[in-house]
Symmetry: C2
Subunit: 525 residues, 2 copies
């Protein structure tokens, strides 16, 4: 798909008469490549600092690290807003853009997008957002601990003002909330999301109600107990590497919150946490992060440390982690393949379990208050609730002060439960404390992409179930590598989905998948 950028040199050789201008063009482009690669390298350094802070840094170093990060962020900002970079980009964009190859054009387009994002906003607004983000986080931590939404409300109000102002600077043609969504899922707007989310509500609310009221509930008792941490770690590492995680170009460590980080496609670092009371959580979080990691390791970095080789959007990234976590690892053939290995790790706990009881136990559906602990059926409703609130805040139909009440009403309406405190309700997520509005939809967009991709894979490789059942993940990984990872930023998410699956995002696959799977697990009519 990608090809090394030889086009220009060949043109020079073939059409000598045009050589002078071609060389100039090439020099401009080489100049751009150098600037962009330096920015990528410095971002890689920043990622290493972030990873180190979460995984390695001694607690006493936090002040010094904050200063190091602030200084490096300043250096990166200088480079990204360097007027010489802007000139170079405009020069390339305005002259002979069409003569360049697909990848060169993509690098210019993406770099220009970032440049404008960084330069369109006034320094005053950038600083105010950064300060509010830093202060907002600690206000939120305390408010959440003390269950005091009123303390957090002023931060939220101010963020709404600033993020509206920000949206008008960067994307004056978009609705402010769409401009915020655009940051996480480029090109996806409320026009697309709202009808899809309405459809999900329509299908999932009755499905969840049916599951809840049904007398047959899976036995999960054998997942309780004590599970030795060293066994959990061996198991997680084995499965991650079976999936194709390249440990020669990555690491697996422990941190408070699992994440996928690292400095480069050859240095991809995932983390998890091990609890001795719950091995499923850590195992599936390693599988989830491995999905992210395979995307990063699969990027076409041999084409340079350039924007075109980067991962596409939050939603597409999440589609890769959820593809492995849900489509593959929560499937029956996966359980069949690993059940004896897992039982051998915890023989006493899983003594009387079977492949089937294990499959049903890890696929229970139960409404609960906390999004990050939700199962795949209830998760979308957590997201939709947040989406509707963000939409309402930006269009003025909701007020910040009413959020606790709105939140609880929607929880009751969608999941049939009401959080006893705001800590377990409107205050649970960190996103808003940093001003990250528009992020939440990408979780459910990712889930739907994953399902649609999986459906295409099944069509193109009908032996996939058998491959999973025999632990042969190579064809699956190769397919994702080729179809998604190696495409970098060449297409928009909408184009990519259509190229891979032959149609735009279609929630039917997700709805059908959930309905079929859970009807069978819960023996629904």
């Amino acid at each position: 798909m990608f090809a090394p950028s030889l086009g220009i040199d060949e043109t020079c050789t073939l059409f000598k008469i045009e050589m002078r201008s071609e060389i100039t063009m090439n020099q401009h482009y080489q100049n751009l490549v150098q600037k962009l690669e330096e920015i990528t390298h410095l971002n890689g350094v920043m990622s290493t600092l972030g990873w180190d802070q979460e995984v390695m840094m001694p607690a006493g170093a936090s002040d010094a690290r904050a200063k190091q990060i602030a200084t490096l962020a300043g250096v990166i900002h200088e480079r990204m807003t360097d007027p010489a970079l802007g000139e170079c980009l405009h020069e390339l964009k305005e002259k002979d853009f069409a003569a360049l190859g697909e990848m060169e054009r993509c690098n210019i387009r993406e770099a220009l997008y970032s440049y404008e994002l960084e330069t369109k906003v006034s320094k005053r607004l950038v600083q105010e957002l950064a300060e509010l983000g830093s202060r907002g986080h600690s206000v939120w931590v305390t408010a959440r601990q003390e269950n005091k939404f009123a303390d957090f409300a002023p931060v939220l109000k101010r963020f709404l003002q600033l993020k509206t102002e920000w949206a008008q600077c960067v994307s004056p043609d978009l609705e402010p909330y769409d401009a915020n969504i655009d940051l996480f899922e480029r090109g996806t707007t409320m026009n697309v999301i709202t009808p899809i989310f309405e459809r999900l509500k329509q299908e999932l609310i009755p499905l969840i109600a049916a599951i809840q009221s049904h007398p047959v509930q899976p036995d999960t008792s054998f997942l309780q107990g004590r599970f030795a941490l060293d066994k959990q770690e061996v198991l997680a590492r084995k499965i991650s590497q079976d999936m194709g995680f390249n440990i020669e170009q990555g690491r697996i460590d422990v941190s408070v919150h699992p994440f996928c980080g690292g400095s480069h496609p050859t240095d991809v670092r995932i983390t998890t946490r091990y609890k001795d009371s719950n091995f499923v959580e850590s195992l599936y979080s390693v599988i989830h992060e491995t999905g992210h990691a395979l995307y990063e390791q699969g990027r076409p970095h041999e084409l340079g440390d350039l924007p075109a080789t980067e991962s596409l959007t939050m939603g597409i990234h999440e589609s890769q982690s959820l593809f492995w976590e849900r489509m593959i690892a929560q499937s029956k053939p996966f359980c069949a393949h690993y059940f004896e290995t897992i039982r051998a790790a915890f023989p006493e706990n899983l003594q009387s379990a079977t492949v089937d009881s294990f499959y049903r136990a890890i696929n229970t559906c139960k409404p609960d208050f906390i999004r990050v602990e939700a199962d795949e059926v209830t998760y979308p409703l957590h997201v939709i609730l947040r989406y509707e609130i963000e939409k309402g805040l930006f269009d003025g139909s909701m007020n910040v002060d009413d959020l606790p009440e709105i939140w609880n009403e929607l929880m009751q309406k969608y999941l049939g439960i009401k959080p006893p405190t705001d800590t377990l309700g409107v205050l649970q997520d960190s996103h808003w404390s940093g001003g990250a509005f528009g992020y939440f939809p990408s979780y459910t967009l990712g889930a739907m992409y994953a399902c649609q991709f999986y459906n295409t894979l099944l069509r193109e490789q009908p032996g996939t179930g058998q491959n999973i059942a025999t632990g042969n993940f190579v064809p699956i990984k190769n397919w994702l590598n080729e179809k998604i990872h190696r495409q970098g930023k060449l297409y928009t998410p909408q184009q990519l989905v259509e190229r891979v699956t032959g149609e735009p995002l279609n929630p039917d696959y997700f709805v059908e998948y959930l309905k079929n799977k859970y009807s069978e697990i819960y023996r629904l009519a």
Copy 2:
């Protein structure tokens, strides 16, 4: 000793008539502080990358990391050679320098020194040195593996030319070799070193010969065997923290070569390696690195991330590691205090050992080929040999091509042994492959400083032996903190030694220490 820099503001208040110029001065100085702190933060980031590379980074990431490091090095170089920094420094240096406090003057002096070091050398020479250093290292690795000095000789010849040219740029008033030494041990020249090293040769060569020919040799058999790595690690961590290593602001990890790194005095990271065949090596390397770490953790960083708060020189740093390794941990009271703890960790191996036999076993003296494995008596001769060769190369009295022969002759003359190969001889150290001439003397300067400092401590705190014997290291650490660590770069090494001990560097303490200690261990007449 240090005081927060309030002097200027007070002056402003007291002498209103001078206020305008004082404020300007203060603004200049604040401007400088900001620039210097940013450089310090970026250097801290660079150190984190270095640590990560040795301890954490997956092997496959080395190319990407090299590019990240090169880009960051470029950013730091830009900042260090920023003409605005130079103007600011000259402004401060030329106007009212005397009106500033001791610490401010030190920051300006040190920053100017670094600025001139970076800007006096042409870009061409900087690049050629960097390229030769990078290429030289891999040439050396292969030459050493294949025992082919002739392959390495051209690199060494070119480095000599370049480092002579470099010396003429940065310190035209110094002999070229002195300019190279100055980089590692500021202010110390051949005039000082040569007579001291002559004295050491005169004393140590006969001492080593006497030890070698003496019939009484310590029993070291109980140090051979298998020592569980987990026990070694627990022991090393305990002793490091007993010494005062603050693990809340530091880490202990494993790497191929032990080192002390980290990004800040609140983030000091030491490493070691554990071999199951030898616990003494890893334990004493942790103690050695802890000595370095206590220096870093003891720096007066509350005064800002500024040059005046940095460690002084290589020699003074080495004095701190050797102070703890040799003066404290190779002493009889230290062995007495820890012997039962050590024996409890390895009961089978140390069954029949005693405090005395343990003390004698860890203090054996035996000439061998490799510097890094040498004991404290033979080590100085390894250093002197290298010093004499470097001196001879720079003054033209020696030729690179003759080095293998010269090396082996001097080994025979000083230690009575001849390396069977150049791999075990002239090719063993990496220093010259990177052009680091003038580094070696600091090892033995450090050893002599350590001994002289210890002698002063004994005079000022006569209960030190008793403190060691009871594991009370607090008064020792506090003394080093106050006398050395918190002095930062306020004085030259020569001034510091004189301030702490009341006299200039005096090799007598070192010579007497070795003669007394080893006469007793080897029962010499």
